[in-house]
């Protein structure tokens, strides 16, 4: 028996053990996050605090993924949380229903997009920083991780770009949502096809739907698939992929074989880029394509250049969508302020962050007990308003967003053009797309 053979055996033994231990540890850790009891927290330095004067103040805290795969979204949403607090304070504060005026103090931490960090930080925000209300993080699993703390300490929380499967809802009493939730993500695109495309092209009824299998993509794609079938679309191909997949060509080959007129994929930024590159490589020609929500980022266009032209995506908000609003700053004012402070055009995550603030602001204005989470939650569950972001109306019991509708944008000559809804100033839709060989 040689030394090499012994080493190989050892390697196989240890590697097998390492894989098994890693899997058990990961599973155990994941389970523990859902069932863990509150523990003492270790102090961390907040990444952002808006200081206040000596007036009455309302303290709002939260986390965002300032690093990690969704850091772009986290930074945008955090920027707008800060912008909202700044604008409120510049205008003298929130004139609450109890007759007092409150300035906003904001504390934001970086959760590093790790769900295991979130309960600890939210407990610190509540117990040590003594915040009055909470802003939710970005991304469903992070939002889910806030729930045990929020419900235990009975603190009002307003979710931002964060959604999960309604099946996971468990009678939570202190959370309301800002965005159109994941199950309804695909509805705007499907509605647009049904009402704007199908009357001129019957072939548009034949669609393919795919999606990743994580908390967000699975919900958006799975519910979107059901919605498409209910609506009467002929779904010629449907499949899911592992959200960490590095190669989609096997699935795309089947999409190509199914010959859909339109291809919709519920993905995020990374798989949207991968999908577009591989669609081109496989010469998969469709009349319309949605590669995923990541299509909305300018980086999507920068990465793909001319091959991003014509791609559509749903969006919670976009520059160019105009609502007849009854509350808050106009879209123009928001755009100007955001560009002044951050030197970039805000994306929908930024707008969502601002809307988080507007919800708390409006609820405090309407409440006669504005520092009480129970009171604010009740008001936030009953009130309605239309801001530059669109309609806010939630189910009073569950807090799920029911009023806000998404729009659809399309990349045209390097710019995102609003193509749905028609009531929000939609422009011309490029349809059908040219074949890859003609681009």
């Amino acid at each position: 028996m040689t030394a090499e053979k012994l080493s190989r055996r050892k390697y196989l033994k240890y590697a097998g053990a390492a894989v098994a231990v890693g899997a058990i540890a990961a599973a155990g850790y994941g389970v523990s996050q859902y069932y863990r009891k509150p523990t003492t927290t270790t102090p961390t330095t907040p990444t952002s605090t808006i200081a206040t004067t000596g007036k009455k103040k309302v303290k709002i805290g939260g986390t965002k993924p300032f690093t990690g795969p969704d850091a772009l979204a986290g930074i945008s949403e955090g920027n707008s949380n800060k912008l909202w607090a700044k604008m409120v304070n510049e205008n003298g504060g929130i004139k609450a229903g109890d007759g007092n005026t409150y300035e906003v103090e904001l504390i934001l931490y970086n959760d590093e997009q790790k769900p295991e960090n979130v309960p600890r930080i939210y407990e610190k925000l509540i117990v040590e920083d003594n915040v009055d209300f909470l802003f939710g993080p970005v991304w469903g699993p992070l939002g889910m991780a806030t729930v045990p703390m929020v419900e235990q300490y009975k603190k009002f929380e307003i979710f931002g770009t964060c959604s999960f499967d309604p099946k996971d809802y468990r009678d939570w009493k202190y959370i309301v949502h800002t965005i159109t939730n994941g199950p309804h993500y695909m509805e705007a695109i499907l509605d647009m096809i049904w009402e704007r495309v199908l009357p001129n092209d019957p072939d548009a009824k034949n669609i393919a739907i795919t999606h990743g299998d994580d908390a967000f993509r699975g919900v958006a794609g799975g519910y979107g698939y059901e919605y498409a079938k209910q609506k009467g679309f002929n779904v010629v191909f449907y499949d899911t992929y592992n959200s960490s997949a590095t190669d989609l060509t096997p699935m795309l080959t089947n999409v190509k074989a199914a010959k859909p007129a339109i291809y919709l994929n519920a993905g995020v930024y990374g798989d949207a880029i991968l999908l577009m590159k591989q669609i081109k490589e496989l010469d998969l020609n469709v009349k319309m394509v949605w590669a995923g929500t990541g299509t909305v980022f300018p980086k999507f266009y920068e990465s793909l250049g001319k091959y991003a032209e014509g791609c559509v995506t749903c969006t919670q908000w976009e520059k160019g969508i105009n609502y007849s609003q009854d509350y808050g700053p106009s879209a123009g004012d928001f755009l100007t302020a955001y560009q002044r402070d951050y030197n970039e055009i805000p994306d929908y995550h930024a707008a969502t962050g601002f809307q988080q603030g507007l919800v708390i602001q409006r609820a405090m204005e309407l409440s006669d007990d504005p520092m009480n989470s129970e009171s604010i939650r009740k008001v936030a569950g009953e009130m309605e308003m239309t801001t530059f972001y669109g309609k806010y109306k939630v189910d009073p019991e569950t807090g799920w967003q029911t009023g806000h509708k998404m729009g659809v944008v399309q990349w045209q000559n390097g710019e995102k053009i609003v193509v749905w809804p028609m009531t929000a100033g939609a422009k011309e839709l490029w349809y059908p797309l040219k074949n890859w060989s003609e681009r």
Binding site: K5, Y11, P69, P250, A257, Y269
Partner: protein, 287 residues
Amino acid sequence: MSLELLAQTIINGLFIGFLFGLAGMGLTIIFGVMKIINFATGAMIMLGAYVGYWTYTYWPYSAIPGIIVSVGVGFLFGILVYQVLVRRLIGKPLLTTLLVLFGLTSILENSMLNLWSPNPRSIPIDFPTYSYGLISISTSRVFVSIMAIVATILVLAVFKYTTFGRIIRAVIQDKIAATLMGVDVNRVYTLGFSLGVTLTFLAGALLAMVYPFEPFGGLPYALMAFVVVVLGTLGNPVGCLFAGLIIGTVHSFVGSYWTLNMSPAVAYLIMIITFLLRPQGLMGKKE
């Protein structure tokens, strides 16, 4: 139609299989030479991709300079990592190696995060695609595959026909005897480790031509490389390439004829079956 689907499935599988094989080859050479498992493979693949990408941003006319720079940086990086870190791990318990190289992974990933942000990157090189019905062949994939084959042939040629290769093989067979014959084992280890890292960087640079990548995106490739190494026999570069093609093809068939969702699971199942039924791998001799 079904024959076309079959053909495209095989083509897809072979294309990604070459990348899996190349990623595994770096891992297997390092293990073959010094019995160290490079747990930082995933981060090194991503680093290779970033070096290729970074070069491309300065010379956006061709991917070739990016590949060359990535190979060069990989070789130097391998020497550096070996001299600073890995040299001290030889002969240490596997757990020490595992923890130190996981630590290196974390350092590399977070450095990439700070240098290049968390955004997935992609090299927008405009290679043409040729289609016949359902079958499409992208020239970028063909290029990547050719590069993988050339790299394998070069590695084999170095191992078989050069003095350096003979010395490496001598060290693999019997380190003490090689030392007694005047071989500087530390030097061989340095070059062996660097060669492995170079191949890992090359895999990254080629990957960047066809896939998006981000600082923490190396893990799926590293796991696939481990599967390929186990299946193709530890320390055997040719076995690695063949195993890569097998795993790539299986991945493609599972995705095309079942669901892509199950593709990684089937690959790991193959690894487990290999552990149980043929632990020496496809190219190894029964103990």
